[in-house]
Symmetry: C2
Subunit: 267 residues, 2 copies
């Protein structure tokens, strides 16, 4: 089917998911929406995240998308069910694929999950992981300073090392062997996180598995784009289009030429 | 005049200003609005901060306020002029009083300003300080990690000390003698900031001076509440009313009993 895939995130973090989708599904057109005016979602209530997600889904529907990818862990945790009731296209989120991958990765059935306050508070990773295997022990930790550190560009820094050490301190005694990076910003800190956890812990980045799930779903539902069609990548944000473009060009393999502002509250 | 004073902030930080107003103007009723759904403002564009501020001003006008206090440095920096054109009640912001106080405090005419990215980028403190005295040297620095550190409760912590040291490092060679804490969250880090700058630097918290300016303005315009009238303090937020109440009760001298949710996008 020759319609684009809609992807949304609270801001720029979802571009790591978009990148993986471009890699695994190079023939698909994408419409990306980043809610840069109302970022972050990780501290907001379920009611507010649902409202914002509904507005974005309405916007994406005006672009005739054939599927929606929720490329934000918080929105995946809080708004997936509401969106499923509202839209008639299939939805892929980042939490289920991330949980699935972690469950396949672990050997000792002890899994750590890092996320925003709202994602951790929702208990969604525990729920999915326990649906897969009730014997898995899940240790989760909210890491509210990670997103600001990433946005300050402190990927490799003593301050980041201190913060990572602090957040992971209590997790150590549980001897986890897999750690889910449950926020799209966190893979950018994987160097520091990996040094802190050591070689025995496998870091799980849901972006790869999300793109894989999307591909399987499109195939199953016969929604894949026909070969040889035109491929377009359109970007929309609710604020700061210029900053978005420069970040997008540092993350994505193809050059982002322009990004349009959307008055998302009007949807 | 027996109408309330409207106060708004991007979230909870403005409560430090509300507290000072309650102290200096105990006979005045207040309507506080915290835009907790769309916090923070410090990373947003002028267009977006103006739009949000206009919505809030429209909401405050439905509460028949006799004056509006912009208790957020970023909104003061970016939206004051727009609001003045829009509303017919007097407006007090936090930046002008803060700049005035810093200009009165300095002896060597070297003033530092700490603020959010958007406040610093606006150049508003430089502009006001140079209007007062063109010979003042202003050294300003955006400190995007301060708000997240405050919201994590790390008021006294080695991580906070490291971050403060990093942000203030370049400022040291300028030998400032006054430092404006140009964001309502920053006074909560004054312990660490003060140790880093040392005794020779006076920290300027605009909240005190803002309440003083408000009092003078109400007096001059004969808008002070008549003695003996009923005093009410009403609180409104756009998200997370329960979290707001618990924070408000840790900051304010009077107990906040309830806080109402407002659908601010509808204004």
């Amino acid at each position: 089917m020759n319609a684009p895939i809609g992807i949304f995130d609270s801001g720029v973090g979802g571009l790591t998911v978009a990148k993986e989708i471009m890699r695994q599904l190079p023939g698909e057109s994408l419409v990306y929406f980043g809610d840069t005016a109302r970022v972050p979602y990780g501290t907001k209530s379920k009611a507010t995240v649902c409202k914002y997600s509904r507005q974005i889904a309405r916007f994406l529907q005006t672009r005739k998308v054939k599927a929606i990818v929720i490329a934000c862990n918080t929105a995946s945790a809080l708004a997936r069910e509401e969106l499923e009731e509202m839209v008639d296209v299939p939805i892929v989120d980042v939490v289920r694929p991330g949980a699935k991958m972690a469950a396949e990765t672990t050997r000792n059935k002890k899994i750590g999950v890092l996320g925003t306050r709202s994602t951790i508070k929702s208990g969604i990773y525990e729920r999915y992981l326990h649906q897969i295997d009730a014997e898995i022990t899940v240790v989760s930790k909210a890491c509210p300073l990670f997103v600001p550190l990433v946005e300050e560009g402190l990927f490799e820094d003593r301050i980041t090392e201190d913060v990572v050490g602090r957040y992971l301190h209590d997790m150590k005694e549980y001897e986890i062997d897999s750690l889910v990076l449950g926020c799209t910003h966190y893979p950018l800190l994987r160097g520091v996180i990996g040094r802190e956890t050591g070689d025995g812990v496998r870091l799980v980045n849901p972006a790869y598995e999300t793109a894989k799930s999307l591909k399987e779903m499109l195939k199953e539902k016969e929604l894949l784009a026909p070969a040889g069609g035109e491929v377009t990548h359109d970007f929309f944000v609710s604020d700061g289009a210029d900053e978005f473009i420069s970040f997008a060009n540092s993350v994505l393999p193809r050059r982002v030429e322009n990004t349009s502002l959307v008055d998302i509250e009007a949807y």
